[in-house]
């Protein structure tokens, strides 16, 4: 375990606080100074991103332990602590947040025409609350940040959104709120079960994870209800079929930056919740319900792809492709083995990059033509070559072309899924094929074909637009060509997670390996105690690590 840092030395805490401080500073600027808000917000987010880069190097990849830990007493009578820290899974998403953050600000310069002050302030609050979700290590704090996210998002959509903005914003708000209150019920149920059985009043993630064996001894109904409450809470956020209906509305109505943040980060909260809470806290109930969960996942995956195919609106198409892609993530999560989970988290990252990119791409043509109908476009590749190139890269990234980021995630997820649910995985591949179909078809319809006169007037990307696409393209290639560093970050935490969720997984492999070794050396007697140790090694998990390394 890392020693606890005092709060003022805790870098992630500062990275999280920067947007909030920035928002307070922006509040003091008179509202006519549009340029100050734009550049100020950009400066804040870029500074924040740069500040977060050292975390990548500081992170100790050799352990699954939570790092940058700071714990302060907050509400002693309830056992709530101001407790923060990150492991690899949080770190990856945290960095994604700071990365997407400045792109979201940058792309808003031309798109936002009114009420600049409020807009950038809300955007900063949004950044703050999203990062808060990833760094906290206390359920109460988690819930606070989780809900806090809704308020800025509500305003971003409801003020700067499209014609149906009010409807979309309130739908997003109510759906998510309904899910999260169910989650809160589940949290409280675990909290009191903990108080009853162990006498501890503690909201920390650690103690919640430690409740898993006790929850497993409760009645079947309790476990299933608990798992369902958590499931619905997170599934709405993901969103999984049939809880996805808020997503197309929210995406289509949101301003570009709102869509980027929604797709890039907000949707990851749901999958993060699954990985962080549902699996480790209620693994047994999840296994019981797994066929249902998987069925919903696959329906979402294929249904999302099919609906995306028939869309006439580009943004809606990308929105439904999110439903489909996150279905793939969930397939990885529900594989509950190292490959599946690692791939799922990897895919969360990829989806954040490629779908944000696609929303930006839609935003570009929308700003120029004020329409998003696919039928209104055609032949753009002739007038907008740079745009066409970036669009192509993002499309390829989205459909998982080898060499780009999407491929790594998809491949790893399928490796994981085939190990446990081969038939489900076969069905899921159709979603991928459909994905390639609708994306390429979209590209074809927008980029090729006859160019009409209005479209011929459209300007190619300007310097600012190239500037915010460039990091996305670079990262897409970098991850695609060299995924190992991120895989390394994820390896240990995922391994720990698999031990929590699916201890049998390593037991079988370990047993086989130990027996093989023993047979080779001729010391069969060693096999039994070694196996015993492996089964108990929940925290250190060193033997399991070897297995994984050779995997």
């Amino acid at each position: 375990m890392n020693p606890s840092l005092p709060w003022f030395q805790n870098l992630p805490l500062w990275v999280t606080a920067v947007p909030l401080i920035g928002a307070l500073v922006l509040l003091l600027v008179p509202k006519e100074k549009r340029r100050v808000f734009e550049l100020g917000a950009l400066a804040i987010t870029i500074f924040d991103f740069l500040l977060s880069v050292p975390l990548w190097f500081q992170y100790d990849r050799s352990t699954a332990a939570v790092q940058w830990v700071t714990k302060l007493d907050w509400i002693p009578s309830l056992g709530v602590k101001f407790s923060i820290g990150m492991d690899g899974i949080s770190l990856v998403l945290f960095l994604l947040t700071t990365f997407i953050g400045f792109i979201a600000v940058w792309c808003s310069f031309s798109a936002i025409g009114e009420r600049h002050k409020e807009y950038y302030v809300w955007l900063m609050v949004m950044q703050f609350s999203m990062m808060g979700v990833f760094i906290c290590q206390d359920m109460f704090l988690f819930y606070l940040f989780w809900e806090l996210m809704l308020v800025p998002m509500y305003f971003l959509i409801a003020i700067w959104g499209g014609p149906q903005k009010l409807y979309a914003a309130i739908k997003l708000f109510l759906y998510t709120l309904a899910g999260s209150v169910l989650m809160l019920v589940a949290i409280l149920a675990i909290y009191f079960l903990q108080a009853k059985t162990t006498g501890r009043y503690d909201f920390s993630f650690e103690s919640f994870h430690a409740m898993a064996p006790i929850i497993a001894t409760q009645s079947r109904n309790f476990q299933i209800l608990l798992a369902l409450a958590l499931f619905v809470g997170f599934a709405i956020k993901v969103p999984m079929f049939p809880f996805h209906t808020w997503l197309p509305d929210a995406h289509v109505q949101a301003p570009t930056a709102g869509s980027v943040i929604l797709a890039g980060i907000l949707l990851k909260m749901g999958t993060y919740g699954f990985v962080r809470f549902l699996l480790p806290i209620a693994p047994d109930a999840t296994k019981v319900l797994l066929p249902w969960f998987l069925a919903l996942t696959l329906i979402g995956l294929i249904y999302g792809a099919l609906v995306a195919m028939i869309q006439k609106d580009m943004k809606k198409l990308v929105a439904y492709s999110s439903v489909s892609h996150l279905g793939l993530c969930m397939l990885g999560v529900f594989s509950m083995n190292p490959n599946g989970l690692q791939g799922a988290i990897f895919q969360m990252l990829n989806h954040g990059i490629s779908t944000s990119g696609l929303f930006l791409i839609v935003g570009i043509v929308y700003e120029r033509r004020h329409t998003r109908m696919i039928a209104d476009f055609g032949g753009l590749s002739k007038t907008m070559p740079v745009y066409a190139t970036i669009f192509m890269i993002m499309t390829m990234s989205s459909i998982g072309l080898p060499g780009l980021n999407g491929f790594i995630g998809e491949a790893t997820i399928f490796m994981g899924a085939f190990q446990v649910h081969p038939w489900w995985a076969v069905v899921a591949t159709t979603g991928i094929i459909l994905g390639a179909a609708y994306m390429l078809w979209l590209y074809q319809r927008v980029m090729f074909g006859p160019l009409n006169e209005t479209n011929a007037q459209m300007k190619d990307l300007n310097a600012r637009e190239i500037a915010y696409f460039a990091p996305l393209v670079v990262v897409a290639f970098w991850i695609g060509l060299n995924p190992t560093p991120i895989m390394e970050i994820l390896a240990k935490p995922v391994e720990k997670l698999v031990i929590q969720v699916n201890p049998d997984f390593y037991k079988h492999e370990e047993l086989a390996k130990v027996q093989a070794e023993a047979a080779k050396v001729g010391m069969a007697a060693m096999a039994a105690p070694a196996h015993h140790e492996a089964a108990e090694a929940h925290e250190s998990a060193t033997p399991a690590a070897e297995v994984h390394g050779g995997h």
């Binding site: 709530v80 003020i159 209150v181 019920v185």
Partner: protein
């Protein structure tokens, strides 16, 4: 005459417990007497509310200085619950008094009696929360209610005002009848020897088997009586009309102070006297709680008038708080209600201050009137946003902490289904609260701006807003304090 002497001696001995209440009585009476009213009338009318406010502050200090103890032959008791809920009643009354000043000025309806009635009513509440005997409880309840009947019908030249007054009076009197009848049944069932709450609990435990039906009927009738007072479904019918018709400050008063006091007494009565017969009232009370949450929130969705919206949402909030009354642990229940009520009355006070501020001359209480407020008066709109989010229980607002505390208790007590219902209905409530926010922030302002009133009011709005915001930061610690303040 040893008996009389000991009576007198006891009275003198117990008097310190009632000092704050006596203070209110004396001041209230002086205000109404020729000399006092002459004194008051010799100064500008707008100072009356200031004087009343100061009186209430003094009472607050006196409450803090009142020693704990029991007296008056076990009729009245000062303990943590009493002190805590007395504070709530006084704070609510103080907010009302400040809100009354500009409103009554605008309506040209300032009168000394108005303020005196608020003081008397507050004294009734203060007695009510400390009552430990059926008789004193009933007397205090009536003292509180009688004054409010008059205040509700205060605008006697408006039809709506008279309608509200009559409606509230008739239904209130009817519910008092139910209450008294229920109490008498219980008194009889318990052997007809005692009306003291603690003694009743023991007596009811020893009651013969054939008295069960009598106890059950009595408890249900008492429950109905309290249901009327706190406006829980199905005894809520009066509240939207009364809220609508009463002068707006009185609506603010009505939705906070009597509810706080009645809930305090509710917890004490059901937690002590009827604790042994928990089974008799748990199911009906659960029904009342569930129905209040559902109906209150769903009916609020369709309201056009701000006051009616708040009336229905108030029904829903009472529904949540009934979960705490239901608790087997009366002390924990009282704590949760106390915290909830404290935050609720701050937010409610703030919202009503905004309404009155915008109301001009008695008009403009529709949600529509809030259109474009964010552009016209950004700070006011922001304050309203804070109140709305807080009322909706959206984290990290103050209201969330109170709700969390309450729902935590409910789950701890094992009312999981009810709590899930509470959570889901509070998600519904987010819709109508956000609707107000949306109206302020996303709809265009109407032509021709209504003349706002009372610059003093804006101070109230911001002070309350600040309190809620500070409370948001202090919310967690507030939860810790709760444990110290209320101890049954």
């Amino acid at each position: 005459m040893p008996f009389a002497e000991s009576l007198w001696g006891n009275l003198v001995q117990d008097l310190p417990l009632l000092v704050p209440v006596l203070f209110l009585w004396i001041v209230g009476t002086l205000m109404l007497w020729p000399l006092g009213s002459w004194l008051l009338k010799s100064m500008p009318k707008r100072q009356w509310s200031g004087i009343t406010f100061v009186v209430l502050l003094v009472t607050l200090v006196l409450v803090f200085r009142t020693p704990a103890g029991q007296g008056f032959s076990g009729m009245f008791q000062v303990d943590g619950l009493t002190t805590g809920f007395q504070i709530l009643a006084i704070v609510a009354a103080a907010i009302t008094v400040i809100l009354s000043q500009p409103q009554l000025n605008a309506l040209k309806e300032q009168s000394v009696e108005y303020y005196a009635l608020i003081l008397f009513s507050t004294s009734g509440m203060m007695l009510l929360v400390g009552a430990t005997d059926l008789v004193s409880l009933y007397m205090a309840l009536e003292l509180m209610a009688l004054c409010i009947y008059i205040l509700v019908g205060y605008l006697r030249e408006q039809d709506r005002g008279i309608e509200a007054g009559i409606k509230y009076f008739l239904l209130g009197a009817f519910s008092s009848g139910l209450l008294v009848y229920g109490m008498s049944l219980i008194f009889a069932a318990a052997g007809g020897k005692t009306t003291n709450l603690a003694a009743l609990n023991q007596a009811l435990a020893l009651a013969p088997r054939n008295a069960e039906l009598m106890i059950f009927t009595g408890v249900i009738l008492v429950l109905a009586g309290f249901g009327f007072k706190v406006a829980a479904v199905p005894f809520h019918m009066w509240s939207p009309d009364v809220y609508d018709g009463a002068p707006t400050p009185i609506t603010a008063f009505l939705s906070t102070a009597p509810k706080a006091a009645a809930l305090g007494a509710f917890v004490r009565l059901f937690g002590t006297a009827f604790n042994g017969v928990h089974g008799d009232w748990a199911a009906p009370l659960s029904f009342m709680a569930a129905a209040s949450m559902i109906l209150g929130n769903i009916a609020a969705l369709r309201q056009q008038s701000m006051k009616r919206l708040l009336a229905y949402s108030s029904i829903a909030h009472v529904g949540y708080m009934l979960l705490a009354v239901l608790s087997h642990d009366a002390q924990a229940g009282a704590q949760a209600i106390w915290l909830y009520m404290l935050t609720y009355l701050l937010m409610q006070g703030g919202v009503f201050a905004v309404i009155i501020y915008l109301q001009g001359k008695g008009e403009g209480e529709r949600i529509e009137d809030f259109r474009g407020l964010s552009k016209r008066r950004p700070m006011l709109a922001f304050a309203m946003l804070v109140f709305m989010l807080s009322l909706g229980g959206i984290p990290p607002m103050l209201g969330f902490f109170a709700k969390f505390y309450l729902f935590k208790l409910a789950i701890e007590q094992g009312f999981v289904t009810l709590t899930v219902l509470a959570f889901l209905t509070s998600a519904i409530s987010a819709y109508y609260y956000l609707n107000v926010v949306a109206t302020m922030y996303f709809k265009e302002a109407p032509e021709g701006e209504a003349q706002p009133m009372g610059s003093g009011l804006s101070i109230v709005v911001f002070a309350t807003c600040l309190l809620v915001l500070v409370g948001t930061c202090l919310g967690p610690w507030l939860m810790d304090w709760t444990a110290r303040i209320v101890l049954v």
